[in-house]
Structures are given as structure tokens and as C-alpha cells.
């Protein structure tokens, strides 16, 4: 659990086999976080409860949280990237949110980050 003690415990590793970390408080873009030996700057805000890639990953890779697969990547992500609806999807019920259905015409990748940072100001 090396990652747990980083960035004032702002990120938590729930299971040793997980490839994402969870924010324990809302972090703004530009926050420096340490992942093991590496330190990197958050490219975008990360609201409390949201997930961040633990290392670089490719399209189709399973996201593992609680030690269990919770879906697959739709796009490659770099370590430190926000992992959410814009770059991953369910392996069960893919079209499961009204939000995605309702906003299919707009880009969820551009609309969602704004919402997350507005709703959970740090």
C-alpha cells in the first residue's frame, strides 16, 4: 500500500491488485501526487470518490477496483488520468445511465468534468 500514504492520503488503494486509486478528498488540477517512486501533476480535477489511473493502460483493459473487474477502458489512459464514463464502460449493462442516453449528442468527456468540479468544490 505504498500509494496510500501519498499526497496527504488524498488517494486510497482499496486492494493490492487494483489499477485505479480513489480520491479521499477533492483535488484540483495541478495537484502533485506521488505514485510509488513517481510523482506527477494531475492534468484535471479529481473529485472525492472518483478514480485515477495507477499506471498507463490501453484500450480494452479491465479496470480493477476492490480487487474485482468493474468494466473496461474505451481509450488509453496515462498514469494519473481521471478514469470515468468518458474513457471506460460496463461489461454488463453498457447503456445504464440516463445521463449518457440523454447527452448522447454532446460529448460526455467534455461535460462531465465540469459537473464534477462544480458539484464538489475542494
Amino acid at each position: 500500500m505504498n500509494d496510500k500514504a501519498t499526497a496527504n492520503k488524498a488517494l486510497i488503494l482499496l486492494h493490492p491488485s487494483d489499477n485505479v486509486l480513489v480520491a479521499t478528498r477533492s483535488l484540483s488540477a495541478g495537484t502533485t501526487v506521488t505514485l510509488g517512486e513517481r510523482s506527477l501533476v494531475l492534468p484535471e480535477p479529481l473529485a472525492v470518490g472518483h478514480k485515477m489511473a495507477r499506471w498507463d493502460m490501453t484500450t480494452g483493459e479491465k479496470i480493477v477496483k476492490y480487487g474485482a473487474p468493474i468494466g473496461s477502458l474505451l481509450a488509453p489512459v496515462a498514469a494519473g488520468a481521471w478514469v470515468h464514463m468518458h474513457n471506460m464502460t460496463s461489461d454488463y449493462l453498457a447503456s445504464h445511465t440516463r445521463r449518457r442516453e440523454g447527452r448522447a449528442a454532446t460529448s460526455s468527456a467534455s461535460s462531465t468534468p465540469t459537473t464534477a468540479s462544480q458539484e464538489s468544490p475542494s
Binding site: K65, Y66, H96, T97, E119
Partner: protein, 407 residues
């Protein structure tokens, strides 16, 4: 604690069927939406934390709704019932009245069309409820053992913190309660999609494990037909991306005890232990979404005997329930800051390292004991008495679902 207190640390109202209630509530129950206003006027007159409004809005007959009304009106927390009928709806009011009377409870039935309309039915209803309260005030509580307690859990407004703080903390509390001999139940199989295999391994028999897997497969089929999983926009705002991610977090509410049985709404746990309540209807989807909002599930757990409900929330649900108190466990420290007047427990402290899961689990356990001993939960004190009952259809459970009953 004295030995007597250890054996029976709680106090309850003894009912004829042997169950005990942690509250002594008068229900005013409308049997169709057309009788809702009259019923509400009667309840509002009393403005009493123990006079509750429930009802079924539909005019068409439905076996599930009838069974639920019977189970709710004869719930151990209920001491007396006033039924309010318009007169032409299809709910069998006489049978329901008989079932309640047979349970040893005071019951009255008012038919608006036969009582001179709104004003006079309200007046008579007020008289009736007043008389019932006087009669119920004579009842004195008796000692109640932990093995007589039934506790449910639900999550609502989940976010990325729910599965890290509040849900596993409730799981710890459940482990403690099950150890004490209490019956605990978790539910919403549509929010356990993805957990079916690990859940089946916890079943006390392989046959029950198979039933659990089948019931989650049924939920997935049902939600697929509906076109949506059980996943609201707020879940995504809070950091949850997929249904299986939400499921893993929700699943941790169940703790680590073996799963003793799979029941359906209205079935009561035959003994202590951990039970899964299957709330997704059987057969082809007929009446829409399995549960239109959290309170529909809370009502089903109450129909299965729950004395109180542990409600975990990340985004910040404020609801309570008619009949059985709701204890709020807030997962998200930012939400707690905003809504602390509604939240009984701040599990978000775990995120800041201010408390461990075990400590919060123990705090929830102590709160359960306090509320089961008569202290009001916050939502109860605030007067929250939400209630939802809609159309559904279920087949009875098979013998493999309750292995404990066969022993």
C-alpha cells in the same frame, strides 16, 4: 449489563404472533389513491411521530399489493390500524380488516362513500385513531432479545465513497448483529450484478448459491428489458462509472457472514442470520421498474419484518420511512458537512483517517441498539415517513432458498 439485560437488552411490544415491535405505531392506510387525502387529513390532525400514513394507490387488483398491505398492517412495530376506503376500489378491504383483527390489533374501516364524504370521514377517522391510541397506551413493553431483532440495509444516492466507508462499516455492524443472533437482510439484486459468483460462495448450501446466481441473472434480464441499470446520474457525479462498480460497493454492506437464505418481499427470516431479499419481480416485466425509488425497497424490507433500516448514502438522501425507523450512515465527508442534521453517523471520517471501519461499525451497532430501545433516529425525529407501494408480481420462493427451515 446484568444477565437479564445481556439476554434481552431491548424492549419491545409483544404481539399475538410472538413477534415484538420496537415502536407502537398507529397506521392510517388508504386502499386506493382516491382515499389518500382523507387519510392524510386524519394523520395530519395528530401531528404525532407514531401516527403514520401508508397506502396503495391502485384501483386494479394485485396479489402482491394485498399481501404487502397485510404484512405491513400486521408488522410488529404496528399497534393499530385504520383502513380508509373510497368504496369502489378492488382492494379486498373486508379481508384485510379481518386479517388485522385476527392478529389481535385494534382495527377500524371507514368507507368514504358510506360515511357522508370527506369531512365526516375525516372526523370519524380522528375519533377512531384517538380511541386506538388510548387503547395502545395501556400496552407496556417487555424485554426483547437481540435474536428477536430484524435489521435491513439499503444504499441510496451512492457515490465513490459509499463502497469505501459507509457500506463496509454497515457490513461490520451486520457481522456483529448476526453474531448476536439477530436477522439481517440486504437487497436490491439489480445492484448486485457482477457480485453473483462471490455471493454464491457465501451461501450456506450449494443449492442456495445456485438460487442466488439465478436471482441476480433474473435482475440483469429485467433491467436489460427496462433499458437501464439501477444507476442514477448522481452515482456518476459521485465517481461511480459502472453498475458492477456500484454493485461491488453496495455488496460490502452485507458484511462477511454466511448467507442463510434468499427471501422475497413479505417472507420473514425464520431465524437469525444474513438474508438476501430478492426485490425484482418474477416473470416478464409487466409493471415497469422493479423499484421506482429507495422507499419502495425499504417498504419491502419492512414487509419482511425489519424493525429498522440502515441507510447508507454518499450523495445525501434524507428519507426516512413509515412503520420502521431509518438510521442514516453518511459515506461522504463533504456531504456530511452539508447535511449533518440529517445524518446519524459520519462514516466519512474513515477517509480522513479519523476513525477505522471497525470503530464506525461499532458506532452503527450502538446506534441500532439505541434506536431499537426507543431513541429516535434523526429522520424519524424530523418526521420523515416516506412510503411507496406499487404493482408487482412474485412467485413463491422454492425450498432451496431457505435451507435453515429444513434443519
Amino acid at each position: 449489563m446484568s444477565p437479564t439485560q445481556q439476554q434481552a437488552p431491548l424492549q419491545g411490544y409483544l404481539r399475538q404472533d410472538g413477534r415484538k415491535g420496537i415502536r407502537n405505531v398507529v397506521l392510517v392506510a388508504y386502499l386506493v389513491e382516491c382515499a389518500h387525502h382523507v387519510s392524510r387529513k386524519i394523520v395530519q390532525h395528530f401531528d404525532d411521530l407514531d401516527v403514520h400514513l401508508i397506502g396503495f394507490p391502485g384501483c386494479f387488483p394485485n396479489d402482491y399489493a394485498s399481501d404487502m398491505m397485510k404484512a405491513l398492517c400486521t408488522h410488529p412495530n404496528v399497534g393499530g390500524v385504520l383502513l380508509v376506503s373510497l368504496g369502489c376500489e378492488s382492494m379486498d378491504r373486508d379481508e384485510l380488516r379481518e386479517q388485522i383483527a385476527d392478529s389481535g390489533r385494534p382495527v377500524d374501516l371507514l368507507v368514504i362513500q358510506e360515511n357522508g364524504g370527506t369531512a365526516s370521514t375525516v372526523a370519524r377517522g380522528i375519533q377512531s385513531v384517538g380511541a386506538m391510541r388510548d387503547q395502545m397506551a395501556q400496552q407496556t413493553p417487555v424485554p426483547m432479545a437481540m435474536s428477536e431483532l430484524v435489521v435491513g440495509t439499503i444504499c441510496g444516492g451512492s457515490d465513490g465513497t459509499s463502497g469505501i466507508t459507509a457500506n463496509p462499516a454497515v457490513g461490520r455492524c451486520f457481522d456483529h448483529l448476526v453474531e448476536d443472533g439477530a436477522a439481517c437482510m440486504f437487497e436490491e439484486t439489480g445492484e448486485l450484478i457482477g457480485c453473483e459468483n462471490i455471493m454464491a460462495e457465501r451461501a450456506v448450501t450449494p443449492e442456495l448459491g445456485q438460487q442466488i446466481q439465478d436471482c441476480v441473472a433474473k435482475a440483469e434480464r429485467y433491467y436489460r428489458t427496462m433499458g437501464f441499470g439501477s444507476f442514477a446520474p448522481g452515482n456518476a457525479d459521485g465517481g461511480l462509472t459502472t453498475l458492477e462498480e456500484k454493485s461491488m460497493g453496495a455488496y460490502s454492506k452485507s458484511g462477511a457472514s454466511p448467507i442463510s437464505g434468499l427471501i422475497k418481499p413479505g417472507d420473514t427470516p425464520p431465524t437469525g442470520g444474513l438474508y438476501l431479499l430478492d426485490v425484482v419481480p418474477d416473470g416478464e416485466p409487466r409493471f415497469g421498474f422493479p423499484n421506482i425509488a429507495d422507499n419502495a425497497e425499504i417498504v419491502e424490507m419492512i414487509a419482511s419484518g425489519c424493525h429498522l433500516t440502515l441507510f447508507t448514502t454518499g450523495r445525501g438522501s434524507v428519507v426516512g420511512s413509515a412503520i420502521s425507523p431509518v438510521i442514516k450512515v453518511c459515506a461522504n465527508p463533504e456531504t456530511y458537512e452539508k447535511l449533518s442534521g440529517d445524518m446519524d453517523i459520519n462514516a466519512g471520517r474513515i477517509l480522513g483517517g479519523e476513525a477505522s471501519l471497525d470503530e464506525v461499525g461499532e458506532e452503527i451497532y450502538r446506534r441500532v441498539l439505541a434506536v431499537a430501545s426507543g431513541e429516535r433516529s434523526l429522520s424519524e425525529e424530523l418526521g420523515h415517513q416516506e412510503f411507496i407501494l406499487t404493482y408487482k408480481s412474485f412467485e413463491p420462493i422454492g425450498p432451496a432458498c431457505l435451507p435453515v427451515r429444513q434443519v
